[in-house]
Symmetry: C2
Subunit: 145 residues, 2 copies
DNA sequence: CGTCCAGATGATACAGAGTCTCATGTAGGC
DNA sequence: GCCTACATGAGACTCTGTATCATCTGGACG
């Protein structure tokens, strides 16, 4: 789906060791379509008999998240899902049906945060925006109105 | 902090029984300052020797959430926290220091979602926006620049 | 190349969140 | 006041994520 190289490069650039399990994780992640959970990766690693321990999967996922090449989504269900993405500030549109996501750059939230800051007196440092809906493919198939 | 009556009324209006444990939960929730977790309520219920079971706490919390009088926040830490609030669409500014939140009505996200929909082809059905920062009190005390 | 060791791993135990079951209790309509 | 559908509490259970620790290995260095 995406490119495992980007994940591996990020590790390398940050000075982390390029170990076998980490390379395998990069492969697993880049093969995912749409968002995925830690449990998904555990299952996939198991299926492919990669011999990667559960703890390592969580550790690598945290690492990729710290490096900004993977981002955590908080699904309405309460589950934590992840998507590979660029290490710059942006947001996600998430398909509620197939889980595919697309990055969207900050579309005008600055004005919003400034306005909120003015009205509430809060000093706003960060924000999270998630947009849920149906991707073109899913919208087309379930809703051929 | 907030008003327990609003929580109880919401149950009543939706046709749920007004049981002792649910009234107690409404009390616990309205006494919270800032956001709180299910675990917080378990501790508080225990401390006050209310004799409410853990399962009941989770069940009541889910119920209040369904009724829209309590909303779940996904903290950057990954924890699930809750805040009592009005059952209409709105967002929260969250103080990273004391956990206090303030409701903010939709500040201009509609334009954002429309623009994103146009650019990505997604049909956007819902969204979540959370703003993190420091409330006036906390900003004043830690940052008297 | 081979040596070496800080950093990484996997097994396992553990802690916490949330769910399920089921016998018992009770709200509230009659 | 009775009755029953709905709610509760206890406790077992599942799942996510973390901690510990003995063992292993990437890659720096010679
Ligand atoms: Zn889709
Ligand atoms: Zn943004
Ligand atoms: Zn504060
Ligand atoms: Zn909104």
């Amino acid at each position: 789906m995406t490119d495992a190289t980007a994940l591996i490069d990020a590790l390398d650039r940050a000075g982390y060791r390029l170990t076998e399990p980490r390379r395998a994780m990069a492969g697993l992640i880049s093969d995912q379509t749409g968002h995925f959970t830690a449990a998904d990766l555990v299952v996939d690693a198991r299926t492919r008999r990669l011999g990667i321990g559960r703890a390592t999967i969580f550790r690598a996922l945290d690492l990729f998240e710290d490096l900004g090449v993977v981002e955590r989504l908080d699904l309405p269900s309460g589950d934590h899902a992840y998507v590979p993405c660029e290490p710059i500030h942006h947001h996600h549109v998430i398909c509620s049906s197939c889980g595919r996501t697309e990055d969207v750059d900050d579309p005008g939230i600055d004005a919003v945060t400034r306005s909120v800051a003015r009205r509430t007196g809060f000093r706003i440092d960060s924000h999270r925006l998630e947009l849920f809906g149906l991707c073109p493919a899913c919208a087309g198939s379930v809703d051929p109105r």
